[in-house]
């Protein structure tokens, strides 16, 4: 499927502190701050940038069409090439991969991917309505009109199929909010217990307030470069080793009941009686992982990947995603978190930054935020950027970032690798 591609590296990144509302800055200034941070980190100037990709999800939230060009213009990047990428919650991951493609294709030698979202211009319940407009407005929105409800039904089915418990869901929340305590960019760092999570208000059974991420204002920037340019710009570029993207039907109701697309570490007999994906799993996530692993030459993900930033808009989706990514078999995701395998000192550090649950989820910025945190992790520069090294792994070699749109309609997986 793949032809000749050039190697692509990430050379710098920047993130604004995500917050519920930052009315003193608009989206342009927020991106500018993250952009300047990334540019200053490698002493780059505008003449070194060939073009850009704009990443934002909703036109409703800002009541402004063509926000992308307003950022391009504010950053001083006009008249260079740019385009906007949109794919719901996976917008950031898709945009990051588009930046990769601009360089892999040879069109650009350097590309800035900037992501942003301003969700504070409307109240939380109106915000939920806007997000629900990213479900089928003829058949799904008028019935439920609430994304937490859709994910809750997936969680209920996962619990039924595999015996996953609400306490296991809660453990994801405890872990991610706890990691965020050491991430100065995070929106909701918290020391929690499983009881705290279960006792917080029920939003959609079985998901409580603390099983769900919040709305945020924020921006994130990643700078990508070709091999030649990358080593001119920094001594510590991070290689983009593999990319993968998957899709699935817009309506949950239309998901088929077929067979699991197997990873190299699985066999058909593992899933003899499993109807897949149904509504318990994300086929798009598995498809994305399969493509990215093939490209990166990964055959045993749990052994070969040290750190993961994945799309935990809901605690249940983190558990479902362990399985899609092949860190455990389908059905074992609940145990995986329960046994501490996803902890910072576990077998693979999942959402060391706090994830969406605790870092925040300004949609268009989220997938790029993941890239930035992973870039710093693999560069071993967490201390420099976070002001402490609690979340720095000792010798991380390979990281995976995972971006995901509504009920698993678009999912991206990108594998990043330290080269020195």
């Amino acid at each position: 499927m793949s032809g000749e591609r050039r190697n692509v590296y990430m050379v710098s990144g920047g993130v604004t502190k995500f917050a519920k509302a930052t009315p003193n800055m608009d989206f342009r200034l927020r991106v500018k701050k993250a952009f300047d941070y990334a540019m200053n980190d490698i002493n780059a100037d505008l003449s070194m940038i060939d073009g850009s990709v704009a990443s934002y999800f909703s036109d409703h939230f800002q009541r402004q069409l063509m926000s992308g060009i307003m950022v391009q213009d504010y950053l001083g990047l006009t008249p260079k090439p740019s385009k906007r990428i949109e794919g719901g919650g996976a917008t950031g991951g898709l945009a990051f991969q588009t930046g990769y493609e601009e360089i892999a294709s040879g069109r650009m030698d350097t590309c800035v991917v900037y992501g942003f979202e301003t969700m504070s211009h409307v109240n939380t319940w109106k915000g939920n309505e806007f997000i629900a407009l990213a479900s089928d407005t003829n058949f799904d929105y008028p019935v439920g009109g609430f994304y937490t409800g859709y994910y809750a039904m997936m969680a209920v089915r996962h619990m039924y199929e595999f015996g996953t418990t609400v306490e296991q869901l809660a453990q994801v929340s405890v872990k991610n909010h706890g990691n965020a305590i050491y991430n100065p960019y995070s929106q909701s760092p918290m020391k929690l217990t499983v009881e705290d999570v279960r006792n917080s208000p029920m939003v959609s059974y079985p998901l409580t307030r603390l099983d769900i991420c919040t709305m945020s204002d924020g921006a994130a920037v990643a700078i990508l470069a070709s091999e030649e340019k990358a080593f001119e710009l920094t001594d510590h570029p991070i290689l983009i080793k593999g990319i993968g993207t998957g899709t699935d039907s817009m309506r949950l109701s239309d998901r088929p009941f077929g067979k699991v697309p197997l990873l190299p570490n699985e066999k058909e007999s593992d899933y003899r009686n499993l109807k897949y994906p149904g509504v318990h799993s994300f086929r798009a996530g598995r498809t994305a992982a399969k493509e990215a692993y093939e490209m990166a030459g990964i055959t045993d993900p749990l052994k070969e990947i040290d750190a993961v930033e994945l799309h935990d808009a809901y605690t249940s989706s983190e558990i479902q995603t362990y399985e899609d990514l092949g860190f455990c078999k389908y059905g074992e995701g609940g145990q995986f978190v329960e046994e501490g395998k996803a902890d910072i000192n576990g077998e693979v550090a999942v959402n060391f930054s706090g994830g969406l649950l605790a870092s925040g989820h300004p949609v268009g910025a989220t997938g790029i935020m993941q890239a930035v945190f992973m870039f710093w992790q693999l560069q071993r520069s967490i201390k420099k950027h976070f002001g402490n090294d609690k979340l720095q792994l000792t010798n991380p070699k390979r990281g995976l970032i995972h971006s995901h749109a509504g009920t698993g309609t678009y999912v991206t997986v990108t594998v990043m690798e330290a080269v020195r």
Partner: protein, 168 residues
Amino acid sequence: MTINPNAKMPESQQGTEIYNFDPLIVKYHYEIDYIHSYAQDSEFFKALGQKKLLGSKCKKCGYVYATPRAHCMMCGAETEWYELPKEGRIHSFTTCYFGSEEFLPETPFHLVLVEFDGVNSLFLGRLIGADTEDLYIGMPIRAKFRRNLKISPTDVYFVPTEEAGKKK
């Protein structure tokens, strides 16, 4: 030709609602009526008025969808309308205690994904007539229809059957 150096913009009594001065935050109102067509899915909504639930069956591969879709996701061929059974089972469920602004006044409400015998995919609907603790996967449920149509997929909703309470 008009040249009037004394031209003056008319003043009005309408002001702007201000939430905050620093930074300046104002209220901006936005509202719109869409001319929304159900297009190739129109039959589904019309059938609800005749107390019929229409899915789709692929003319080529025979896959049966519990939802309207004019073309098959499996093979790309055209589908035909397929009348779904009135009775099915809960495939999954939730109870929403919060929701989008539009549905907030209706909370709490149950959502169910419904499975039907002989049908390959599911249908999303609301369920009434049971509490959350009464719901279970596999629960037999029955479609009911609104008499005064809203021309919305909520013109059909589900209730537990008589047997639903017996075999939890």
